[in-house]
Amino acid sequence: MTPDLGPAHAIIRRGLVLTILGILGVGVVMVLAVQFTPVEARQGLAQKIFYIHVPSATVTLWIAMPLTGLASGLYLWLHDLRFDRFAAVSAEVAAVFCLAVLTTGPIWAKPIWGTWWTWDGRLTLTLFLFFLLLGYHTLRAALRDPVERGRFSAVISIMGVVLVPFIHLSVYLWRGLHPQPIIMKPSAPSLPPEMLRTLLTGIGVFILMYVGMVTLRYGIQLVRDAQEAADAA
């Protein structure tokens, strides 16, 4: 019997729309950043990448990772494969965004620090968070048994979430080159209003993109799982 994939396809469509909106949004942010935001005094145009770098980083650390961890925890608790599926796709998107951070970062670093990369605490940890996410997916690909796959990847992603605070605090802990928090900090954001506005728009757009991509992948995964179940039966 072939299961009814109607709802799955609906989800895919919804996800697609949101993702496209998100991508358009990124364009808008760039325009905002270049046209309607004052050029930062010391860094000049190089600082414009800020409006991509920070949102992608913030969404990775404070939205994608926590949700992945939450879903994983729920899976371990309730053994419901839907949570596992969500965790998996969310982790995928997290990996993508983390990659965005790891590319925009160096692009920014080159003009400012004169080098693409240093083994600064935050940089190192972010890189390894990315590795961890890669490992997470390699493991999922390697394990054919759904139960086991769910358990192991849940454990890994939960451990990964615990890295987030370390990454955030790394700038205080190791005082490397990387600048300190602007928004995610106790005191009020230290940023001129226009810049803040553009930054917040950027963060909003990336959240939208996260929701879109997760929905999309979740729908696709639904279809795949349904097919796999069909073959097995």
Binding site: R144, P146, V147, D231
Partner: protein, 238 residues
């Protein structure tokens, strides 16, 4: 069923998939004290998978197992206590001597005076003179006997045996049958997986045939083994 006396094993709708392979596809099993179930089935039928699920070593994809009415799914150490499993592997550490292996097991099961119990178990298997050897340095049949000693050490109320007679010589085989007959008193139960019904026919009170992860036959022990064997051949070839 009255909670006063829950069955020894209560398994409902056990299913287990390995990727595309369905090792178990919905198996129910109720085993009461004093019962001995003999399980036959072709290679790959799911016999070992069934035993491992009953022992709580495998979390089934679907279904549940209760031992003495206690679920195995959550981590409940005492629910595992009555279980004794003899699997395809010996569960022995190759770098520890037989005695050390059994003493460790005894300690894990909180037995009084593990060394004494360990020696007794080895003697019962005619391995007392090999107590200080490593499993690796034993002949295959001796390894099987060591594994049996470990499985029986805490004399478990529920004994799960996966092809217990493999590698045993005639003498050891008879000795094991004897041991199992004594072991299987009122309060205890057994599941024996084998390819040769004759090996344990006398012990059995029930007989089941597993085919592609399902019961193809499950009943009290038929009077005539030869006839049952024909039936089984039918099923297996069918």
């Amino acid at each position: 069923m009255p909670l006063a006396d829950p069955p020894l094993v209560e398994a409902r709708g056990l299913a287990r998939r390995y990727g595309a392979v369905r090792a178990l596809a919905g198996v129910d099993l109720t085993l009461r004290r004093g019962e001995v179930l003999l399980v036959l089935g072709p290679n790959g039928a799911g016999k070992s998978t069934l035993l491992r699920s009953l022992a709580g070593l495998l979390r089934p994809t679907a279904g549940s197992v209760a031992i003495n009415g206690r679920m195995l799914t959550r981590d409940d150490p005492d629910a595992r206590r009555p279980i004794g499993l003899l699997s395809h592997q010996s569960l022995l550490y190759d770098e520890l001597t037989l005695l050390e292996n059994l003493i460790l097991a005894g300690t894990l099961y909180d037995l009084p005076d593990p060394p004494a119990r360990a020696r007794a178990a080895l003697t019962a298997q005619g391995l007392e003179h090999r107590a200080d050897d490593r499993p690796r340095s034993l002949s295959r049949g001796m390894q099987q006997r060591a594994a049996i000693a470990r499985a029986l050490l805490h004399d478990p109320a529920l004994l799960l045996l996966d092809e217990p007679f493999t590698g045993l010589d005639a003498v050891a085989g008879d000795r094991l049958r004897e041991l199992l007959r004594e072991h299987c008193t009122e309060g205890r139960g057994m599941v024996i997986v084998t390819h040769h019904a004759a090996e344990a026919w006398e012990l059995a009170t029930r007989v089941g045939v597993l085919l592609q992860g399902r019961w193809a036959f499950e009943s009290p022990r038929p009077p005539d083994m030869a006839q049952f064997h024909r039936v089984y051949q039918e099923l297996a070839r069918g």
